[in-house]
């Protein structure tokens, strides 16, 4: 059982503890702390990469379902075009018949003669011109429908290609996610081995670092108080707070001496 140190020994021990703690900070603890920090960083980065890969896989799956719906719409548009073409051809047929009616009216006007058939001939000419324009517009419409069908077919094909690429992205993301899980497992294993090899862990090291920092600040404060405050007052004030620490240090030194 360690004895309670005297006043002068108390201060000596206090200084030495603080100095040793400061020195200790610069060596093994700092290195171990650095290794643990790097380990923690690697772990968190790997976890973030894994989560990102999962998000990519999920987005790629959503993208594929959107591609499927869009390709389906494009195919539906292509499938509707024959019906539209048939409708347009019916309109063209109506215009063709109208043109024939106009021709027959023109013939009738011609039979009636120059004065009696004049108005009929004029109407006939106008109706025929308009029906020819209508038939021409329908021909362009049919061509346009055909172009739209061809283009929407091409769009569907391109969407299918994009879907296939999205599938590859999803597979790669799933693979990356699986790999990051493996990496996480390996990092956990490394952490365990490190814990066994050093006998420390990140929490302990952080506590040591914190205690060291406090000890350093104590040394600085003691240096500032040196000569300004009566020694007896300083010791009597610090003793209740630091006695457990000094006892621990004294025990450690006694064990070391033995």
């Amino acid at each position: 059982m360690a004895q309670t140190p005297s006043k002068s020994r108390f201060l000596r021990l206090l200084r030495r503890t603080a100095t040793n703690a400061q020195k200790h900070q610069g060596r093994g603890v700092a290195e171990e702390n650095g290794i643990w920090l790097a380990h923690e960083k690697a772990l968190s980065t790997t976890k973030a990469a894994g989560e990102a890969a999962q998000r990519i896989a999920s987005t790629a799956a959503k993208q594929r379902s959107i591609f499927d719906a869009t390709a389906e719409q494009a195919r539906a548009t292509t499938l509707r075009t024959p019906e539209l073409e048939r409708t347009a051809l019916r309109v063209r047929d109506a215009f063709d018949r109208l043109a024939l009616i106009a021709l027959n009216a023109g013939l009738e006007g011609a039979r009636l003669g120059e004065s009696a058939g004049r108005s009929l001939s004029l109407v006939s000419d106008e109706v025929r011109t308009l029906s020819e324009r209508g038939a021409e517009a329908v021909r362009e419409l049919v061509q346009g429908i055909s172009d739209v069908a061809r283009e929407s077919g091409a769009v569907a094909t391109r969407i299918d290609e994009a879907r296939a690429q999205s599938g590859e992205i999803g597979q790669d993301a799933a693979l990356a996610s699986s790999n990051t899980l493996d990496t996480e497992r390996v990092l956990h294993d490394i952490g365990e081995r490190l814990r066994k090899a050093t006998g420390s862990d990140p929490e302990t090291l952080r506590s040591i670092a914190s205690a060291t920092e406090h000890a350093r600040q104590l040394v600085v404060a003691l240096g500032a108080l040196s000569g300004k405050v009566p020694r007896a007052l300083l010791v009597s004030t610090l003793r209740p707070v630091l006695e457990p620490l000094l006892r621990a240090v004294s025990d450690e030194e006694t064990e070391a001496d033995e």
Binding site: D96, R97, L100, L103, N104, G106, L107, G109, A110, R111, G113, E114, G117, R118, S121, S124, D125, R128
Partner: protein, 130 residues
């Protein structure tokens, strides 16, 4: 003195612009299905049933869209193979009284009498009777 305008149908054939007088053209119709007749004379595509009448169809060109129903000496004749330019009243050609002028182009009359004569004089199904 100005000659009166003449009414009829202007046609574009391989030979150029042609004119059919309104007195000979009964009507213009979409080409109905032609029933081919074995042994028909050259140029006769067959017969059609149009507006309640059965008539021979004579080709005057390669077009196959419109049937021009004509009447010659009381007999119906269908013509196909020309593009119809227009129907109406046209100015006669001052240099050739039987021809017309249309937008600076001369339209000669289509010789329907020759077509009719050929139909009448040709032997139908001659190969079968020999």
């Amino acid at each position: 003195m100005d000659q009166p305008k003449r009414g009829g149908l202007l046609l574009r054939t391989e030979a150029g612009l042609r004119f059919l007088p309104a007195s000979l053209v009964t009507s213009v119709a979409q080409l109905p299905p032609i029933l081919r007749v074995a042994g028909a004379p050259e140029g006769v595509l067959g017969i059609v049933h149009e507006n309640g009448e059965i008539m021979p169809v004579v080709a005057i060109g390669p077009e196959r869209t419109v049937l021009m129903v004509c009447s010659y000496l009381g007999e119906p004749i269908g013509l196909v193979g020309a593009e119809i330019v227009c129907a109406g009243l046209f100015d006669p050609d001052p240099t050739a009284p039987e021809a017309l002028m249309y937008q600076g182009e001369i339209a000669r009359p289509l010789d329907l009498s020759a077509i009719y004569t050929r139909l009448q004089t040709s032997t139908w199904a001659s190969g079968w009777t020999s």
